[in-house]
């Protein structure tokens, strides 16, 4: 079907099959956003309505333009996206490279292209391009992720190239967003162990850093806990994953027995050095798994042993990794984990944003009545910390509505993804869902003090044309693809 002006049949088919539910959620978020920006930039001294000097006025412009963009994207033939996926991706990559060299230094990052009064952030547009390229890769004839290592390499290449280029622009937050595409790889066949390993790594990291002050058996209590957890994990994996009860039982007896002996010895004040005890006991456990592998020929036993080995290895490298981080990154992590309280320095933003949100109460202080935001106590309140304004002025009703709207949007995108008849559309849709999951989790998590501060915007809400347009493009390409699903 080719577009030609006045082709009623075409337009009817697009708008008839358009997923209006998603459009409505999108509109709610965008309109909520412009009101929040108006409130966030509202000044007691000069209250002007939607003037173009104001952030909210500009944002209204960006919204108007994004509607045009959305309309154009809906009109373009759906097959064009698949056809031009790689050229678009390459074009954006070139733009990212160019940006590194010609962008002015704004607060230490070189990610903005300035065109007179406007500035654009190519990294925001690289999101949909990467999604298209990844979808194109997976839609190749008989492509299977697990078929060969080469396929993994190609997928990772598509994901990692923009990450590296954006890191080079010193936009760590935007770069990290692409890590969320591992959800897509998982959906398309990557082993769940990778996500599991990532989860375990995060837990080990948090526990090891958070509980590094007190000592048990001469080792930090965090590390002590992790090592105990590794023992339990091995027994659990032997029982549930290997499904060999006798192996689990033997491991239980071994670890349990050693722990009891250690405990009894420590009562008599005979202390084995903690590291020696754990490493030798867990080492023998791993050797036992290997022995059972040769006897039972179960691959899962190797994985069990490897999990334990990698966990212990990761644990010991955490401190090393942490020590090699930049001091401000260390501090942000410590503040987020509640180890350090620094309400005037690095914790200032989060502390003030928690005060703003917490002071909103159940119903909020009322539109334009928030003191924290009006008096500029929360920095970046119209961009990354926009959620504060909602929390302060609309209270728990507002914040929970926003959280639920995002949850509904993400779940809707996942369900759209699963109803797509083509791999291209499905993978693309999962890319959209992944980006949204990452932005939503990290942005709101940092504002309410549950994540370290990573400067990424809240989709549709935060002030800025690039972010808004980037997400509009992502969403409307998905809607266009979805609208034509019946024609296959």
């Amino acid at each position: 079907m080719v577009y030609s002006p006045g082709n009623k049949q075409f337009e009817n088919s697009v708008f008839r099959h358009l997923d209006w539910f998603t459009v409505v959620v999108y509109l709610l978020l965008v309109i909520g956003g412009v009101f929040s920006i108006y409130a966030a930039s509202y000044d007691f001294d000069h209250a002007s309505i939607l003037s173009f000097d104001e952030f909210s006025g500009k944002q209204a412009c960006w919204i108007g333009l994004s509607f045009v963009i959305g309309l154009v994207l809906l009109i373009i033939d759906a097959r064009m996206y698949e056809t031009y996926a790689y050229p678009i991706y390459l074009g954006i990559l070139i733009l990212l490279v160019v940006t590194i060299f010609i962008a002015p230094d704004i607060k230490g990052s070189r990610s903005w292209l300035v065109f007179g009064p406007m500035s654009l952030q190519p990294a925001e547009f690289a999101k949909f391009a990467t999604a298209l390229a990844l979808a194109k890769l997976f839609s190749g004839y008989n492509f299977s992720l697990n078929a060969s290592g080469r396929n993994y390499f190609r997928a990772l290449l598509i994901i990692l190239t923009p990450i590296i280029l954006i890191l080079a622009q010193k936009e760590t937050g935007s770069a990290l967003v692409y890590m969320s595409l591992f959800f897509v790889l998982y959906r398309e066949g990557m082993s769940g162990l990778v996500l599991f390993a990532a989860l375990v790594a995060v837990i080990i990291f948090v526990v090891a850093i958070k509980f590094s002050e007190t000592l048990i058996l001469g080792i930090p209590s965090g590390e002590f806990g992790i090592l105990c957890m590794v023992m339990v994990l091995m027994i659990g994996m032997a029982a549930v994953y290997v499904k060999r009860f006798e192996v689990a039982r033997n491991l239980l007896f071994w670890y349990g027995g050693c722990s009891i002996i250690e405990a009894v010895l420590s009562i008599w004040d005979v202390q084995l050095p903690g590291y020696v005890f754990f490493l030798s006991v867990i080492g023998i456990g791993m050797l036992y798994c290997l022995f059972e592998f040769f006897r039972l020929k179960r691959r899962a036993l190797i994985i069990t042993a490897a999990t334990a080995f990698l966990s212990v290895g990761f644990l010991f490298s955490v401190n090393m990794v942490f020590d090699h981080m930049m001091p401000h990154q260390q501090k942000r992590i410590k503040v987020a984990l509640g180890i350090e309280n620094d309400p005037r320095g690095d914790g200032y933003n989060v502390n003030q944003s928690k005060i703003a949100i917490g002071s909103g109460g159940f119903t909020g202080k009322g539109f334009l009545k928030g003191t924290q935001t009006k008096l500029k106590y929360v920095p970046e309140q119209h961009t990354d910390f926009i959620f504060c304004t909602i929390g302060e002025e609309e209270g728990f009703i507002g914040t929970s509505a926003v959280v639920l709207l995002f949850l509904i949007l993400i779940l809707r995108v996942i369900s759209l993804a699963e109803r797509q008849p083509t791999t291209f559309s499905r993978v693309y849709a999962y890319c959209v869902a992944s980006y949204l999951i990452f932005h939503f989790s990290i942005n709101i998590g940092m504002v309410i003090g549950l994540c370290p501060v990573i400067g990424i915007p809240l989709p549709f809400f935060s002030y800025g044309g690039s972010s808004l347009w980037g997400f509009t493009i992502l969403l409307f390409i998905l809607l266009r693809l979805d609208a034509t699903r019946k024609s296959y």
Partner: protein, 617 residues
């Protein structure tokens, strides 16, 4: 079209992940916004700067509506520690006239305080002079977190009356505990009526709520001041004091130790009250207050000790009018009862000396000549009259109760924070010393002439004089005559009637008149005012006799009753009478007659401190 149903199930993992995240966030938001109330306070503390607006303290006028105490603006340097950024400490200290060490000490003291909070205004320095205030005001923009709080200081038109006016000071931790009205940095009255009438004088503090942005800039008032609380000014006081007379009385007591109390008999209002050596009330205001206070406190002459109210002195012969009253009331004597005096009271191996005069002698001449023997005989007749009282102890209790009804032995209830009670022994007291039934009048004969164990405060002595002037009643002496818009405590408007028949007072008053016309107080015999008086010469263990005088005038319609007590100044006629008569003359005539100027001159220039044994270092 391939469909891998095994992989499709993974949508539940991804969907489940985001559902869990959303649930955690909702719980967290619930905790922040609904469970925890503290964030509301934090936000208010951020945005609203509550500035106390201090009311103006009540003014104090004297009985003739002359202004006595008024207010003067002063400036305190305040800081909100949280808002203070790095600044040029040296320049700051130089502007305030502080050394860097003092500055650090002040910061440390501030932080050590129990009420310290980095979020609320803390007092760094008080009583900035107008000059320093000007200098700092210009530079204040360089020191974010600091601001100037306008306060008031007290100022005195004549700079007299320190002992009863008192002064104000910053509240202590104890004051804050005692009265929840007080906050750190407030002022309260200290000593004198500033303390006893603090509740009326201080007014009610107001509050101004300002909106402050993240950089500490003030962005206006909350809802245009709708929530501000206006301060209520303190109430003005009118004193019974005549401040001109007070000034004159203080000048007469220069270089003397002792007290003067002058009372208007019919109202109980104190016209003048001096405790010498005195101090200027202005020394206890401003930043030097602490140092000056310490200096006064360490002064061996104890200027902070209010001798008029607290000093316990043997009343000496000024006690005799009260003895005459008791003897008449108890019918021990009548006006014609004579007692012998052969240069003293000689009985049972005792001898209380007296000076030469006619003998035997009756009550009025005895008062006129201040005969010791008469009152010793009278006292003996009373205490040893077992037929009437049963025992000396019982008789003594009767005697004591009359004295208590005349205002002796207990604080009178003056409207000032601290008042002494003097000392009137009771029978128990002597039983303890001598044993029950083992003492009689002769054992304690010296109390009959105001010596021995008897101690009285100058205000009690003056009050006796006022009671005689009133012919049988008195109103509790008080400083404050009127409180703006408030009714005075009925205690200070109600007559107190002693247990002595009113007609006896006339006889005693006549005796005191005779003492002026032809007795011990002839120097007080003013040509056109009928003065009544009684001298006192009190022996004491501290050296030379104390010189005392009580007197009132005019005889028929007394306007003033005065007590003068000068330590170690010799005979009552030497200092007590001249000073007392000058005060009466000054108050009633407004000036000192030419032919009496020499007395004034002598009193102003004489020094009795040299006899007191107390030397200034």
């Amino acid at each position: 079209m391939r469909k891998n149903y095994q992989l499709e199930k993974r949508k539940y993992v991804i969907g489940g992940f985001i559902v869990v995240i959303a649930a955690i966030y909702l719980l967290r938001l619930f905790g922040l916004q609904i469970q925890d109330d503290k964030y509301k306070d934090y936000a208010d503390n951020n945005a609203y700067l509550r500035k106390t607006v201090y009311p103006s303290r009540g003014l104090i006028y004297d009985r003739n509506d002359s202004l006595v105490v008024f207010n003067q603006p002063a400036y305190d340097v305040m800081m909100i520690p949280r808002d203070v950024h790095d600044f040029d400490t040296l320049d700051f200290c130089a502007t305030l006239g502080l050394s860097p060490d003092e500055f650090r000490q002040r910061l440390a003291d501030m932080k050590a305080s129990r009420n310290y909070s980095s979020y609320t205004p803390q007092t760094l320095l008080t009583h900035l002079s107008a000059k320093d205030y000007g200098k700092l005001q210009e530079k204040l923009y360089r020191y974010p977190g600091f601001f100037i709080q306008k306060r008031i200081l007290r100022q005195y038109t004549l700079d007299v009356g320190g002992s009863f006016l008192g002064n104000i000071r910053e509240v202590s931790e104890k004051d804050i505990e005692r009265d929840p009205y007080f906050k750190r940095g407030d002022y309260c009255g200290d000593l004198g009526i500033e303390k006893s009438y603090d509740h009326f004088l201080r007014g009610v503090k107001g509050e101004e709520i300002l909106i402050r942005d993240a950089r500490g800039r003030i962005r206006g008032r909350l809802e245009d001041g709708a929530h501000d609380i206006a301060p209520i000014s303190g109430k003005d006081l009118r004193l019974g004091i005549d401040i001109k007379l007070q000034e004159y009385a203080e000048s007469l007591m220069v270089n003397k130790i002792g007290a003067i109390v002058a009372i208007e008999p019919k109202s109980g209002e104190i016209l003048a009250m001096v405790s010498a050596p005195t101090y200027k009330p202005s020394t206890l205001i401003g930043r030097e207050r602490g140092a000056n206070y310490r200096a006064l406190n360490n002064d061996p002459q104890k200027p902070l000790f209010d001798r008029a109210l607290m000093g316990a002195y043997p009343p000496g012969s000024t006690f005799k009018p009260s003895q005459g009253l008791i003897l008449l009331e108890e019918s021990i004597v009548n006006l014609s009862t004579p007692f012998p005096c052969y240069r003293g009271y000689i009985n049972g191996g005792l001898r209380v000396g007296c000076h030469p005069h006619a003998s035997p002698i009756t009550l009025k001449p005895a008062l006129q000549t201040s005969c010791n023997a008469y009152f010793c005989w009278g006292f003996k007749a009373l205490v040893d009259k077992r037929s009437k009282y049963g025992s000396s102890a019982k008789a003594f209790e009767v005697w004591k109760n009359h004295l208590v009804s005349l205002g002796y032995g207990y604080p009178l209830g003056v409207d000032l924070p601290s008042e002494g009670r003097g000392f009137i022994p009771n029978a128990k007291f002597y039983n303890k010393i001598y044993g029950e039934g083992r003492w009689s009048a002769n054992t304690i004969i010296s109390v009959s002439i105001g010596q021995g164990e008897i101690l009285a405060t100058p205000i009690q002595i003056a009050n006796l004089c006022a009671t005689i002037a009133n012919r049988g009643w008195f109103i509790t002496p008080h400083i404050v005559k009127e409180i703006q818009d408030t009714v005075l405590d009925p205690k200070y408007t109600t007559r107190r009637i002693p247990t002595i028949g009113q007609h006896y007072f006339n006889e005693v008053a006549e005796g005191m008149r005779m003492a002026v016309t032809g007795g011990t107080c002839r120097l007080a015999n003013l040509p056109d005012i009928e003065v009544c008086g009684k001298t006192g010469t009190a022996q004491n263990p501290h050296g030379r006799d104390h010189s005392a005088f009580i007197g009132f005038a005019p005889y028929d319609d007394p306007k003033i009753a005065v007590c003068v007590y000068v330590e170690n100044a010799g005979y009552g006629a030497a200092f007590g009478v001249p000073i007392g008569s000058l005060i009466i003359e000054k108050y009633l005539k407004g000036h000192i007659a030419e032919n009496r100027k020499y007395i004034e001159e002598r009193m102003l220039n004489s020094n009795t401190i040299i006899y007191s044994g107390v030397r200034k270092h």
